[in-house]
């Protein structure tokens, strides 16, 4: 992990501005992401955390142009200065897989079960880098070796169902890294895996970051994985950013009551057993009809009258931002 005070002054690699993602459903418009802003530079590692339905996945789907047909994204997502939102699919395809790679949540279904691993891997390099088949295959074998798949020359000729879940996720990671992307988006890459494999995948990604200065967006609800891999954290709630800061700021000085609740709900080994698990009472708001003011108001232990208005984004000198009336200079 990079020291938090090492400021990266280069132009942002990805800059997301006022991103809105909505879905037309028979019940009405679902507001999955609302007015989201963040940016990251080459080599940065940003974690987006939040509970299910907080809009983490749809945020990156919108950036990748992979929203489902009833989805609509507004706002800007500038990648190396070009707005991905305004690109046609053909234009997006010159970046997707090459400069921006994505690792999906479910390794069991995200690989094509009808094609051998080699075919699925070499098509990426052949398409983006114009390598011939044998060069592409050699590259793919090297990549599988890099993610520690034993006997890659033999394994690459197998089908996905011949791999275990952890192995498949490693294949997914290897596939994402084939073209040495500038940005790797990993959507809950370790959620489906057991703890030892989680650690391996996590190590793999930090090694990648150190070796090739790849920027990473890690989507997760596992705060343990975040600490090992990322330097900044964006906390999302009901489609909004509620807090953003360095890992240290978020873990040791959380300003937003939601972040505080989230951290308090992480089970700890040093807790006496009989205290049970902490949880935040209540449920996230209905995305079909979001409340006007603070969206966390109904579940917030510190809610007061002012919360009926939308709270401002507060920012301190250490680039720690949070959307709440509380926690200011006082």
């Amino acid at each position: 992990m990079k020291p938090a005070n090492m400021e990266n002054t280069a132009a942002p690699l990805l800059e997301v501005k006022d991103l809105d993602v909505g879905f037309d459903t028979p019940e009405g418009k679902v507001h999955a992401v609302n007015c989201l802003n963040f940016s990251l530079k080459a080599g940065d590692a940003l974690a987006i955390v939040g509970e299910s339905g907080s809009g983490k996945t749809q945020t990156v789907m919108a950036i990748m142009g992979l929203l489902s047909e009833n989805g609509e994204a507004r706002g800007e997502a500038r990648f190396k200065g070009q707005d991905l939102m305004k690109m046609s699919t053909a234009q997006l395809n010159t970046h997707r897989g090459k400069e921006i790679a994505m690792i999906f949540q479910d390794p069991m279904t995200s690989l094509n079960p009808y094609l051998r691993i080699d075919k699925q891997m070499i098509e990426v390099v052949m398409h983006h880098q114009g390598l011939n088949k044998s060069e592409a295959r050699a590259h793919a074998v090297e990549m599988l070796r890099a993610v520690r798949i034993p006997d890659p020359e033999r394994r690459i000729r197998q089908y996905p169902h011949e791999f275990s879940g952890g192995m498949r996720q490693r294949v997914m990671v290897a596939m994402g890294l084939l073209c040495e992307p500038d940005l790797l988006i990993a959507d809950e890459p370790t959620t489906a895996l057991d703890v030892t494999v989680q650690a391996q995948i996590s190590h793999l990604m930090s090694a990648l970051r150190e070796n090739s200065n790849t920027a990473i967006i890690l989507i997760t609800h596992d705060l343990g994985v975040v600490a090992g891999l990322c330097d900044r954290v964006l906390v999302m709630y009901a489609g909004e950013a509620v807090e953003c800061g360095s890992v240290e700021q978020i873990y040791y000085e959380p300003k937003h009551p939601y972040t505080q609740g989230l951290l308090a709900s992480v089970p700890r080994l040093d807790q006496p057993e009989e205290t049970g698990l902490n949880s935040i009472p209540g449920n996230p708001p209905n995305l079909l009809a979001l409340p006007k003011g603070c969206k966390f108001r109904d579940r917030c232990p510190k809610a007061h009258d002012a919360c009926k208005e939308k709270p401002p984004m507060q920012l301190d000198e250490q680039r720690h931002a949070w959307r709440c009336f509380l926690g200011g200079a006082a």
Partner: protein, 309 residues
Amino acid sequence: MIKHSLQRLLGLIPTMLMLITVAFFLIRVAPGGPFDSEKLLPPEIEANLNAKYHLDEPLVQQYFRYLGQVVVLDFGPSFQYKDWTVNELIAQGFPVSATVGLAAMILAFVVGTLLGIAAALRQNSGIDYSLMGFAMLGISVPNFVIAPILILLLAVYAGWLPAGGWDWSVANMVLPVITLSLPAIAYIARLTRGSMIEVLHSNFIRTARAKGLPESVVIRRHALRPALLPVISFLGPATAAMISGSVVIERIFSIPGLGSYFVQGALNRDYTLVMGVVIFYGMLIIILNFIVDLVYAWLNPKIRYDEKR
């Protein structure tokens, strides 16, 4: 794979035995006999005939006699078509039916899948709705309605094609092949559309798109194979039905195929002919289903058996 294939072929024996047994006794249970006609035969002649064809023996003895013949693929003489054996009737009719049926099936598969894919790629558009509307029409309008309409339009009014008859010329095949393939085109188009839409929403298609592959490659390389699986499993029995001849089509277009023997044999209590075509059709279905299974395994790696590593 080879071991599995042999096992499957061995399984053919009990299935066929079952089929033969049930068909043999069912047709005997039906009232009447092969020599019944409006003018009763003199009893002596009928007795002679029965003796000639072994119909005077106990049924079980006849059954085993018949089994002994079938084992060497001798279906015996036809009762109704004098001087013809059932083998000769099948050998004469099947090539005609098979030609028309196979041509219709190939046409149906190519056109049906293309239309289905086109509809799936433009889901809920005007193209999709009109294609599926026509498909519904193709499934629900029976071919004894379509055939006369096509004859009227293309043969009688336009005069482009002969209205019927058979001389192995392409012109003679066009109308029956089209008529026979229309319902299959419609069915395959609907099947393909449904499975294609399902596949396009699967996670691995999203992965393929995230790789930055052009949509045409995504469809051809990643979506086509799984989308065709349900169509392939439909093809086996459908092909068997089509190449063994359609009574309606062969009547309307005066084609000397196998189809009419099914009905004529049953109506005339032509025991050997009925048994012959039933067994022939049964073998056809089993063999085609077997081929479908092989194709299926080739398309879907997950169900390949004892694959060598």
